[in-house]
Symmetry: C2
Subunit: 409 residues, 2 copies
């Protein structure tokens, strides 16, 4: 039985948060000095655990067990959002390290190989899920050539060079090398907390369908243009949002979400009737049928809004993902482990956020575990999780890993 | 009887449009080389008509009849919006010149003094209605010191210096000097055109009440935050606009208008629930009671929207004007003249746009006349009016001027 060391786990989580410490959180953007220091520290820790380890050409820290037996890969991403939390990504990385150590220390687990991993740039400073996309062979050199930092504009190639990674080859998925992948992550929502659960077993990572909707009205003088003849694109954008708010709840699944993240009204002057409006809208669900219902309803509402306001409308779907199911046997293994350590305080749930697991799952069986986020807060330096939940989460992950490796699920 | 010269009027209108010609319109921002050339040309034309004329310290071109009899001031503003129409402002200026000339030429009108005027910067390149505000004593030196160009950022003082106006004193209203003020302007809307009218007699210039409304929700992750706990400031902004669209028609006057000219949602990213939203909203009417009803309804709707969405709301009234009634006797004089030249093709109507007349009316009796805007278009280089309507408008203005001066209305 692997027994994780709670003190060591919490100490290393806090130690890891010193790389780019910011208030009670961290500021550790991908490929910065702090990020690369944290990755080199991981290499040293993986090696101390008896594993081979290296940083690949895009910064992924990859640990390998010695010997030929397929290993279970465990990890998450090491960098943070800007001025954000200490656990988002980092927790799953340190969990991977601690599980590897607990297996190395347990006499009956030495033959069960763990391969810890720390992906690069899941947080999209350059390219969303960059490291895991590269690993599964879904990232071309041309994309790397073209990418720039979303905040600073620095070309990705320059950043890789500064990070000492120019000329280092990328590591790719190798069939047969791993039995699968486990990732632990903070929930980033309040579902676990609000239902008094301590462990979430991820059923699937939801798909995101995203749309650009444009209304074209007639820009005109706000004082001299009678209400009866106006074609106000700003009003059209508002009416569409209200119509969505009325219709979507009736056709939603239990965990569906939808968001208008951006609205731009032009020209945006007090005394000019808006001639144009653009909406960036997205919805997420784990069920394809629900996604299709939302799509149809949205197109219907855009058309009705156009007819009602006299504004021409166009709708373009700019992203259409597929829900990524987590492996059923891995879910069962996580559930058995959770039941052992916190009976009735665990639940199965979809992940509303993207995670590296959705990429890795294209190539191997994958499972995910959530721990509660206090107040549902993430992407903010106040992000936190109870110590007891961190320890519990890591132990459940370790037990599930043993189950998977021992029983060849 | 003053008889305007149609050919001369149209020729001079087109000549004036050559100062800063742009496509079929003009680009003649206040105090630019072209604007100052046009003002110096006006001085020469006023003088040719036998008047004294000067450009004052803020660029107003002021013509004075010789002798002691109070004169009737007639004009509008000379500069244009950027890349805009050839008639907005300029038409009223050239009408003033033509009326002055027609009076000088009519043997029975020589004792009826006309004082043509061309105001500066009604179009707000620096300060809205700058010239007429200065003339009525409502513009301080401190305001002039602080003002900058809305597009270029150039300080107003620098622009005045470059225009050769530094050190030139400003001219102010002098009690007893004028019997009143007439201004002709394009309608800038489609009310006249859509009702087959050729002359609009302005009853009042509407008041503008303007508001900044801010919603504060909770910025959060668009994937992991359940719909039930969201406080989406963008949705609040949309719901307020829809609520206004439902409620305002029921409490509006026949010519009320209301506009949400600007909506800003922050942070404005696809996967982030908006934590903040700001709306710039205004309404206009000529009736104080209607304005008060709108104000009360708006505050009620903001409160209800806040309660419904869980977003904190604040509302700040950033402008509260008063409707400016045009002089009743001047309206009657304009109506008699219109009835003479285009019986049944004239109407009384409020002005939804601001005009210099609203400032001048603080100090003397004032009247305004509108001619139709083809397609209701203004603030665009395609702005136009039928030649026949230009000629008609100028003749109606001349007849009304005679009526006012001869009969001491």
């Amino acid at each position: 039985m692997p027994r994780i060391n709670a003190d060591r786990l919490l100490t290393d989580l806090r130690k890891f948060a010193q790389f780019g410490a910011y208030k009670t959180g961290v500021h550790r953007p991908t490929y910065t000095v702090e990020d690369m220091e944290s990755r080199r520290w991981l290499v040293s820790q993986y090696e101390k655990t008896g594993l081979a380890a290296h940083i690949d050409g895009v910064g992924n820290v990859i640990g390998h067990s010695r010997g030929d037996r397929p290993s279970l890969m465990i990890g998450s991403h090491a960098e943070s959002q800007n001025h954000a939390g200490w656990l988002d990504g980092a927790m799953g990385v340190i969990f991977g390290l601690e599980v590897a150590r607990s297996f190395a220390e347990a006499p009956d687990c030495t033959g069960l190989p763990i391969a810890p991993v720390a992906w690069a740039d899941e947080e999209s400073h350059y390219i969303a899920l960059l490291g895991s996309r590269s690993y599964v062979g879904d990232l071309s050199d041309a994309e790397i050539d073209a990418a720039t930092n979303a905040y600073t504009g620095q070309p990705l190639r320059d950043a890789l060079k500064e990070a000492g990674l120019a000329g280092t080859s990328r590591s790719f998925f190798e069939p047969g090398r791993h039995v699968g992948y486990l990732e632990a992550h903070i929930e980033q929502g309040d579902f676990l907390e609000s239902t008094s659960r301590r462990i979430g077993i991820v059923t699937s990572i939801v798909a995101i369908w995203q749309y650009r909707i444009v209304f074209e009205g007639i820009q005109n003088h706000a004082g001299t243009t009678r209400m009866a003849i106006r074609k106000d694109a700003g009003v059209a954008a508002a009416r569409l949002q209200c119509a969505i708010a009325e219709r979507f709840p009736d056709i939603a699944g239990p965990r569906s979400v939808w968001t208008t993240g951006r609205v731009t009204v032009s020209p945006g002057a007090a005394s000019i009737i808006p001639g144009g409006a653009e909406i960036l809208f997205q919805f997420r669900d784990e069920d394809e049928a629900t996604l299709e219902r939302f799509d149809a309803a949205l197109r219907d509402l855009v058309e009705k809004t156009s007819a009602r306001t006299g504004c021409a409308a166009s709708i373009e779907r700019i992203a259409k993902g597929h829900p990524r199911r987590m492996d059923e046997a891995f879910q069962d293994a996580l559930e058995r482990a959770a039941e052992r350590h916190c009976a009735d305080s665990h639940t199965r749930m979809p992940s509303g956020a993207s995670h590296d697991a959705q990429l890795v799952a294209r190539k191997m069986r994958a499972g995910m575990l959530f721990v509660p986020s206090i107040g549902g807060i993430s992407h903010h330096w106040t992000e936190n999780t109870e110590d007891a939940d961190l320890v519990l989460g890591c132990q459940v992950l370790a037990d599930a890993a043993e189950d998977i490796l021992r029983n060849g699920l």
